[in-house]
Amino acid sequence: MTATAITRAAAITRAALAGTVTLEVARYLPGEDERPYFQSYDVPYHADWVVLDALNYLKDEVDSTLSYRWSCRMGVCGSCGAMVNDVPVLTCAAFLRDYLPGPIRIEPLANFPVERDLVIVLDDFMEKLSTIKPWIIRETEQPLDQGEYLQTPAQLDDFKQFSMCINCMLCYAACPVYQNDEEFLGPAVLALAQRYNHDSRDEGNTERNDVAWLDDGVWDCTFVGECSAVCPKGVDPAGAIQQAKLESTLGWYRSFLTPFGRR
């Protein structure tokens, strides 16, 4: 057994014997508090508990004023994003045992205004998402009697990874460019633009790229890559953005060869 494995096992054993682990949760009540502060709670330690279980315990048994978002508790709805020890995670996927011995610091998702406690204002993301038209755009719909749109496995593979996005915004919390630039469209929005651009059924590339291929779109990204590292669904928005940069560059050169043609 390695040294880290032994230390971890010791921490888990200690917590199991003590029966509790300490959580430091960010609190903020708008209008009452000038700034967020930390409140310390001791929660029961269970080997199979996630941070969300601990929060639910706190709200049910200890402090009903604690506010946070959650829904499916299984990593598909994207509601429960938060900073746990400075890393953006889904609280339903963050096991207490991985943060022992504690205390475990829980804060609202970084780079967003805080509505209250762990609830953030996500209007910026929602507005930006709608600008890239995250739906299939076609000039004409195929008539019903022609049946479904057919797609080969290869065509599906072209965009499937980017379609796994659950809009949890962990990537925004990890992105230093988004932290410092309010105008940046951000990783998830750009990955979703790629998702539709690469869908063989879609004909909306030009419309989307008039938004995505601008300086506040893909060109703000400096490929830090943390967005892809924290994504709970393996979307790789960083890869999507680099691909878009390449496509944008090829299109830029092509536009000089066909100045009067459609780009």
Binding site: N111, Q179, A229, Q243
Partner: protein, 133 residues
Amino acid sequence: MATRTRTPTPYPRHRSRKWFLTRWPYQLFMLRELSSVFLAAYMVLLLVLVTQVHNGQHAVRNFENTLKSPGLLIFTSVALIFALLHTITWFQAVPKALPLRRGENKVPPGLLIGAHYVAMLALSAIILIIVLV
């Protein structure tokens, strides 16, 4: 008793001047970006060397003595480490920007990265031969 009405005032998002110091991935990113400084600096050294070659054997000898100095040897060693950091991170990035397919199948990223290392080693060998042999 009148209830106090609260105007919701979201707490504004926090910006950190030193975000790149907070976690290792951000620090590594910063080192990767700084590698470009060392690369450019070494290209300056390259151009100085070529200038000295045009100036004659004596000039090259003097330049070689400068290159031998402890300061420059340290700089060379540091620059080499940064150059390797650049190479490793650059090759890792290629499959992300260029998802290639052969027919139905995706070309495995490892293959693409490996091909780049092969190219790098081959070119390095060629250059060493040209310079030394």
